[in-house]
Amino acid sequence: MALRLVNSKLRSQILPMLSSTSLLHSHATSFGFKEVSEEEKSRLVGNVFSNVASNYDLMNDLMSGGLHRLWKDRLVSKLNPFPGMKHLDVAGGTGDVAFRILETINSMKRRAIQDSLNDSLHEETRIFICDINPNMLSVGKKRALERGLGEDKSLTWVEGDAEALSFEDNSMDGYTIAFGIRNVTHIEKVLAEAYRVLKPGGRFLCLELSHVEVPLFKDLYDLYSFSVIPALGELVAGDRASYQYLVESIRRFPPQEKFASMIAVAGFQKVEYENLVGGVVAIHSGLKF
């Protein structure tokens, strides 16, 4: 009886959330330089990633000249992965970050076995890959098979929303989000959820395209962004609009200092960031105490 009451109370509070975000208050938000409603944004972003999923890796290589690989390496080295860790990689559908973490841990394990220091006490490593887009996840699962990680018990794929994570409070040692947070509707909600799922002592790391302030380099970068990238998108992926969205969304994303202060507002301590390539990308980090 009591359970029923709780049930119906919860229902009335939560069920409105089921209909695409909340219909009660639909604020205007940005989709690139366009102003759109919040529901519209998640639909449009969904379309972008469904369109680009199959060419995602190729386009990343072409647009960044292969640099995105180094940026992701840097992200993972900052994480300091360890055997037995519980990690959540959000918006990481194609597995790029998750595979790096797992391979780092596996190479550590191999070394440990060689040194005969292997202890069987440590827990199983678990890396959760959460992405809202099923197309990106199926690309990732396919790549896991190709890499011989298809049967790896450490990897768990989940279709989920960064703003409403399906993981327990205080359950993760690490949280990464690479080139994802720019595309969400509410950055604050994503940060609050990251904080919630991390264990005390857990590390938040975010790799994102950011803002270049170096005078001459900024002009070059703008030229490259607005002239070369959409053209490249059209040529290679046959999709100019998605790549136009990409460069616009980068300009709309809060600059380094502002984003760092948002991370601190979410409750994180020791918030800092590192600019790579003059701010083309930045890695923000924070600790939950």
Binding site: I14, L15, L18, R126, T156, V158, E159, G160, D161, E168
Partner: protein
Amino acid sequence: MVRVSKALLKDAGSGISKTLSEILVCPLSKQPLRVCEKTGSLISDAIGVSFPIKDGIPCLVPKDGKILETNDTSEDDGVTDSAGMKREEKGGNR
């Protein structure tokens, strides 16, 4: 033959439920989820919503959730059901 495939099915099921019992929760209520093997879905009893599992991937985006008819949930009593579930998971954990 039948026994083997049954065992396999059970293994696959317990694989998922083990992960679930460890860390996965309902994205809305943050309460535990239970595996419904009949429909291949995850059920959040707290709010009476079911989430599909597609190609072995749990789909836990709030919009993917379907509100269960109250008749469905009351088919078997929620309390004893969740208790039974817990016992089953412990047995499978070893």
